[in-house]
Symmetry: C2
Subunit: 424 residues, 2 copies
């Protein structure tokens, strides 16, 4: 980019083009959208060598810039990840089209029929870090749901993203859909993000995908609605009546299946009546697997033969995303719910119990995007919930809450059918 | 209020109290909420004389301050409006409780069952002008939907609102629900609004009810999500195949039933093939009823015996809320849709047609909160849509769009039921 490059003007141009593409993409037939998705899949496979070349150049620069190994790992494409992206497009093509579905059409006393039609949101902006697969996934989900999209990936993935964008454009073109329906922001100028999030005339929704810092900065400055995916400080509460065998199995899975996912259990609450049977059994598994334990006084008292650090207030509030767990012994369900309300992040929380009333109370009273009974918090995922796809997990309360699939990328408008009907 | 009054501290206090009341009101039984609503209705009726006294004092001050007659009219309570408020509470009590309903519970391949439970949003802030009935309506809707609410009415209605708040508090108390679930902001200090809209720790949603200026100012400054109810620049398009008799009846109703409502037709689009039959017939009715017409050149040509002003670009974009209508002759459906897209406000737009494909295209392609076929735009209303109540009409696309009833005051969380289930 030369010095004369004007980022404001650039966002105006791409924004106008996206807005103009929103109407034809919203009205596109399911057949045309699916044809584009399948053609994108084919093109990704055909251009594998080219995609790997462009990605290699990105990775080389990232290494030169001494980027962290985890970041380089996420940036790197392989024949396997390219095949997975293509497969993802075919999966999205196979999902039912959410657009146009009409719910709840009923005749009212006046004689008019009223229902709600599911429709695209319009233009969506996705702001993400250096994971090139997000470019393809997000484009596919927006396309299937009839939305135009502006994609702004991390600058480290610029060449990979442009090469992927060309595959997407080829698919749109082959299906005679407007290429401007999916645009990858070409500039790596950081000001582009600031421009995007302040333009409700071009964008209807911003979905940031990345770390807490990125998301909070965007939410603080945006004039466009933002769908946030913040921390998962997830809890499981072992109730008095929990089945020991099952509880231990679920706790193990919730903590150790994967440490770095937002649905991982970060905090374990144990009813005081189970601190001497279930707690030592799961502690033994954690110790074997190298999970660091930080507990309250009673936890430490109940686990004299384990190395359990004293937990601080920061621990109760912490999303470790690591082999660490905080543990608290509580007097009853009320104390458990109060603890979750005070320290939790309203992402995913569960109870392990055999008590009907306590299960019902937990489901009703815990104010989290997902509430669970006798299941691992690691189930918090769009595919596990049957959505068929996932653009993120919303920790917001409005519009979409929890795992967001195609439906979360749409909205509903009222449809009113009359026969020359007038209001009295 | 004395000089030492600290509005920031006041909003902290009421916000904390509202947040604390949110959990018990969310968990309240349907029976308790209905008991409170019915007791509020009774109390309003019992205290009629006191309410009228307090209101008379407000009205007297408003007259002294030379407020506009329309504002004084909205501010004034009568035995009839008090009876209507009481009746409104009884109607809300009779509606089904939206909280706790579980939709779409399905067993997934892993064996877990996943569904979505409807739950309150939390704490809602309603900011409105000097219509005391909003105090009672909004409190009733928030209570039934399990939300705590902070009500901030216009300062001119301060005494009326306090007297109404006391009736509401009596109802909550009688049903053993926390009185802080409904709080009327006592200070008339304008800074209170600025504090409220910047406190996501206390409020989950702001609903401003009032003029465009108020709503835009709040939306621009808010850090809490805002549900906006902006302009209704509503269109009806008379298609080539429209039935003349029915079209004239609907157009008459859409414009003249009431002029000041957001669902009133402000702009009439006529297919060129009907400019010589339907257009003169409706123009004759408009002329008889004193509706001022502003038209395009072809409209003026088709109506030589009527006084039709030339319409400007401002006319096409204008929500008159008055006996004025803009009229444009268009070549076809495409031009009609393009005009609505360019000048409309995405509130309510309709087509009058007997053509199946054009009706379907209009419903699908016009991006408005309500789209109608062969019906008057004045049907845009929560009661007419069968919602049983209405807190406003959303012109936003996310969360709730169009008339908002109890469901729009709730959200959904995922419920996951397992049997010691772990993720593979």
């Amino acid at each position: 980019m030369n010095k004369a490059f004007d980022v404001t003007e650039y966002i105006h141009q791409t924004g106008r083009a996206a807005r103009a593409a929103a109407r034809p993409i919203a009205a596109a037939s399911t057949a045309a959208k699916n044809a584009a998705l399948l053609f994108i899949a084919e093109t990704l496979e055909k251009r594998e060598a080219h995609l790997l070349d462009e990605n290699t150049a990105d990775v080389r620069d990232a290494r030169k810039a001494d980027l962290a190994a985890a970041l380089i790992d996420r940036l790197t494409l392989t024949p396997k990840t390219i095949a997975a992206m293509a497969q993802g497009m075919r999966q999205i093509a196979a999902l039912p089209d959410p657009v146009g579905a009409i719910d709840g059409m009923r005749t009212q006393p006046s004689g008019i029929q009223v229902g709600r039609m599911r429709v695209p949101i319009g233009v969506i902006g996705i702001i993400y870090e250096s994971r090139p697969n997000v470019t393809v996934d997000a484009a596919g989900l927006c396309l299937k749901s009839g939305n135009a999209v502006l994609l702004r990936g991390g600058s480290e993935a610029a060449r990979s993203n442009q090469a992927l964008a060309a595959c997407i454009a080829a698919g749109l073109k082959a299906a005679q859909l407007p290429e401007a329906a999916v645009q990858v922001i070409e500039t790596t100028d950081r000001a582009a993000v600031g421009e995007m999030i302040r333009r409700p005339e071009y964008l209807d929704l911003i979905i940031p995908r990345g770390g807490r810092g990125l998301i909070e900065r965007i939410a603080a400055e945006a004039r466009v609605p933002v769908l946030k995916h913040l921390d998962g400080n997830c809890h499981l509460f072992v109730d008095e009546s929990a089945d020991a065998e099952r509880a231990v199995r679920v706790l193990d899975n919730a903590k150790t299946r994967r440490y770095g996912v937002c649905g991982a259990m970060e905090s374990l609450l144990v009813h005081q009546s189970r601190m001497h049977d279930i707690l030592p059994r799961i502690a033994s598994i954690f110790a074997d697997k190298g999970v660091e334990m930080r507990g309250c006084e009673r936890t430490r008292g109940a686990l004299p033969s384990f190395a359990v650090q004293a937990a601080s207030d920061e621990d109760w509030a912490c999303e470790y995303l690591a082999p660490i767990v905080s543990i608290k012994v509580v007097a009853d369900l009320d104390e458990a719910i109060a603890h979750i309300e005070r320290y939790g992040s309203h992402h995913t929380d569960g109870i392990l119990t055999n008590d009907w009333r306590n299960a019902q109370r937990f489901l009703r009273e815990v104010d989290s995007a997902s509430v669970m009974v006798n299941a691992s918090t690691q189930f918090a995922d769009g595919f596990e919930y049957g959505l068929g796809a996932e653009i993120g997990i919303s920790t917001d309360k409005l519009h979409a809450r929890g795992p967001v699939g195609l439906e979360g990328l749409t909205t509903q408008k009222y449809v009113v059918l009359g026969d020359g009907s007038v209001r009295g």
